[in-house]
Amino acid sequence: MEREIFGYKCQKCGTLHYPFRMVCKNCRANGYFEFDTVPLPHAGKLLTFTFIHNLPAEFEVARLGLGIVELENGLRVTGQIQIDDPKLGMDVVGAIEVVKRDAYDNRYGFVFRAA
């Protein structure tokens, strides 16, 4: 199954949001479900990043890359990164993959790699 992560576009003023919120942050004039869902682009620029060395339970790696990416449409998202030597501002491309396995389910989200 092809998985997507969606942004939420206000039906009143057109502002895009990620993640979901029930009222538009810009115009505050819409309500629940008054957003159009827009698939998020996968390409963007790496704004900042870290490698975490002391992880919460359930992450069975020694070192986990995380970053904030500005996507081509201007929305920003947080995701995991798999990049050996990341640089601020570099071009990245995201895939939607399992980011966490917990007791209930596989959790899917963005994993970014060098473009």
């Binding site: 993640p19 870290t50 975490i52 947080t78 601020l88 980011v99």
Partner: protein, 391 residues
Amino acid sequence: MREVYIIGIGITTFTRLEYPLSEIAAYASMGALKDAGLTDVDYLVVANMGSARINSQSALASAVADTLSLTPAGAVRVENGPASGASAIKEGFMAVASGMHDTVLVAGAERMREVNSLEATDFVATLTHPMAEYIYGVTLPGHAAMFTRLYMEKYGVTERHLAMVGVKNQNNAMLNKDAHLHQPISLEGILDSPEAMTNNPWVAEPIRFFDCCPVSDGGAALILASKEVAEASGRPMIRISGIGQATDTLAVHEREEPTDLMAVRRAAEQAYAMAGIKPKDIDVAELHDAFTILEIVESEEVGFFEKGKGHIALEKGETEIGGKMPINPSGGLKGKGHPVGATGVAQVHEIVMQLRGDAGERQVKGAKNGLACNFGGFGNNVIVSTYTREG
């Protein structure tokens, strides 16, 4: 609104405590009651973040009221992430200011070392956005690291500046018998020597072990009272002069300017407006240095230094106990420790000690106005409050 005074303070040692959470809160509370010369209060507000999850105990305030035999006084628990402590103070302040109660016990307590460090890190990480952050493995050190990298790039903050905050605060903690860390550190040991990188490993690049506060158990308590009760108590008159609070987006990536902490700035502006004072009137401050970068940035956002210049003031020694703007004489979260629910209350415990002139070797001379910044989430719920000594 009525004026509200702090007439009693109490605290436990911040360390690993081998007694139940409700007793940690109660022990600090007994100190505060004794200090105020009271045996009874009208109302209790208990700050705690994690009892239901990490100590298998919910409705903590009922347990604290009963442990102290303060029943049938009303009691409520406040959970507001790492800002729980100051949120409880605000709740107590409103209760007295409104005229509804004359005496309120505000206690904060956390017992985090009941679980291992992985579970403690995960427990704190649950305050992040569930779908957009938490599932990726984002932790608070992770947020602080991504923020630090941006601040380094934009304003020229270096690892040395971060280490300087750690050294200052952990060495201040040497002067505080209740502090968690009683281990002097130096730039040599954590940054410059060949062993430094072994002593001070990465936690989340670019932040290291000595950039992070320890995981602590501990409790702190205050007695808030109306002017009439405060005058009758004969205790020093320390007035809560201003309180401001602001929120920001839950997901950090949604912030318009990623290097701003707008909730700190807005909360501080409200507190100064309420108190009728300016940043230059503050003599001593306790800032929320859960990570060393936060002390630098908060010192700018509360108006002590220009944006992007906090690390310059640090370099010049202005934030040391004898400096122009002493920050975290108690040791801060870095040195004193960070039992999450207790922290906001403990910050004000220190401010009251300082304004009373009771802080001993770490006393800021002649302190009359103090400020505390309790930083919740990664800057998504912040309370700044100011305190003034009268008479």
